[in-house]
């Protein structure tokens, strides 16, 4: 294990910062495409974004295996997760409760855990680090949590993701859920969200 001084700090107030982070994720998941910004973690372990690290601090623990994509799996990131979250880090993303990937190298969505019809909650929640999120433009989102439609622009994604997302939607009630991250900002797409490319 790395010396203590090499481990990036977690939340200043673990109890209240976890609560605030959870509420932001809950709001994002309940209102797909809505952006929430969390100014709670200033110094995340590279190459993880502040919102990625915050979501993990709030939700990941010894009961939730975490998968980190190869391009993001730095020593600093791994040490941070082991120290603060105490989570097992797995090599097989089909066994992960949470996963972290970059938008450019997001692996095929079908390789994550999709849950099963009797227990659809056992699917992976995938945190995707984008290079930009903006509301009011780009993709058109509809589904539960959205009154009519929301617009969300996601930058940096590899091609083909939204076709795979459509296939993910067909699996309902199974399927993965996405948390999209841009720095300290996040948005979420539960499996019920229909995405139409403009």
């Amino acid at each position: 294990m790395a010396p203590m001084t090499d481990i990036k700090p977690g939340f200043r107030d673990p109890v209240l910062d976890s609560q605030a982070t959870f509420r932001a994720v809950l709001d994002a998941m309940a209102r797909p495409g809505r952006l929430r910004t969390l100014a709670l973690l200033e110094d995340p372990p590279a190459p993880l974004a502040p919102a990625t690290a915050a979501v993990c601090l709030a939700l990941v623990d010894q009961d939730t295996p975490l998968w980190i994509a190869p391009d993001l799996r730095s020593q600093a990131a791994e040490t941070f997760m082991k120290f603060h979250c105490g989570c097992p880090i797995v090599d097989d993303r089909a066994k992960a409760a949470f996963a972290i990937a970059s938008a450019a190298k997001l692996p095929s969505l079908g390789g994550f855990a999709i849950g099963d019809d009797a227990y659809p909650e056992t699917s992976t929640t995938v945190i995707v680090q984008t290079v930009g999120l903006a509301a009011g433009d780009g993709l058109t989102l509809s589904g539960p949590g959205i009154e009519d439609t929301h617009r969300l622009a996601v930058s940096g994604l590899r091609s083909g993701v939204w076709r795979e997302w459509m296939e993910n939607g067909v699996l309902f009630p199974c399927g993965i859920d996405l948390i999209l991250v841009d720095g300290a900002t996040l948005a979420a797409l539960p499996r019920t969200t229909t995405v139409t490319e403009a």
């Binding site: 609560q19 959870f22 952006l35 949590g145 009154e147 019920t192």
Partner: protein, 331 residues
Amino acid sequence: MADVIDHPSRTAAAETRAATGYNFAYLDEQTKRMIRRAILKGVAVPGYQVPFGSREMPLPYGWGTGGIQVTAAVIGPDDTLKVIDQGADDTTNAVNIRSFFAKTAGVATTEKTVEASVIQTRHRIPETPLSEDQILVYQVPIPEPLRWLEPRETETRKMHALEEYGAMHVSLYEDIAKYGRITKSYNYPVKVNGRYVMSPSPIPKFDNPKMDRMPALQLFGAGREKRIYAVPPYTRVKSLDFEDHPFTIETWDQCCALCGAGDSYLDEVVTDDKGGKMYVCSDSDYCEQRREAGHVGDGGDPAYAARNQIPAGDAPAGDEPAGDEPAGDKQ
């Protein structure tokens, strides 16, 4: 535009923790994480019951331990909590839960629906329409809507997985064949987003239409049965019915005796020992807001209202006579 969450003022919360020695909102952090993960998956699969590891709470089952655990996992120092029981803020159950969170989380509490950011409820949905900025937490005694048809959990889970709801429809239709209508007046089953059949908890069916496309997030917690489920905002919630027997809600042919409301759920209140009674809003905050705004009822005496030229409420006259049956059992 992103809503920026500032580091909130946490002095009150920190002082509460120091003074009482409680964990914030009572639960330990690992339990909260588990409940929070279950809530998120519940939101992602609307109407599906997510199992969770319910914790012992310092209140007996039946006091809303499921709802309390959901509230405890959700609530933060910036929230304002309202708790209602059968529509009222002042019952023992509601008062106890409110003071539990005031003590363990240091949160502000209110009896006004519009002031609350989190509303925990047993048996009612407030009459005042809820907004996007609110979360409604239901206390649920029996989360499984199919339980009265099938006692085995493995079987009901399979029925939900396969979307096998034929038996449910058959049993509702048997009701129609026998009584000419679906007699269920509380806990009337709904279908969420066209997929899962869900128990709305023992609210009167009068409240079912309020769940449909509600702007607020709806969360459900069952403590004894260890289930959490959710209805995201603006999600379709349809009460089960049949083309030839569409779903209807209760109506009354009188208005609230105190505030004259013709659009609210009324409770029968006995006024004397000679069988005198009047009907008043079950939602005490709604009734009070109306009275504060100058609305008045007929005091239970239509003749008095006529003499004093008090305008009647705008309720359409019901089709049925008032009768002696409890209001909740009416069509």
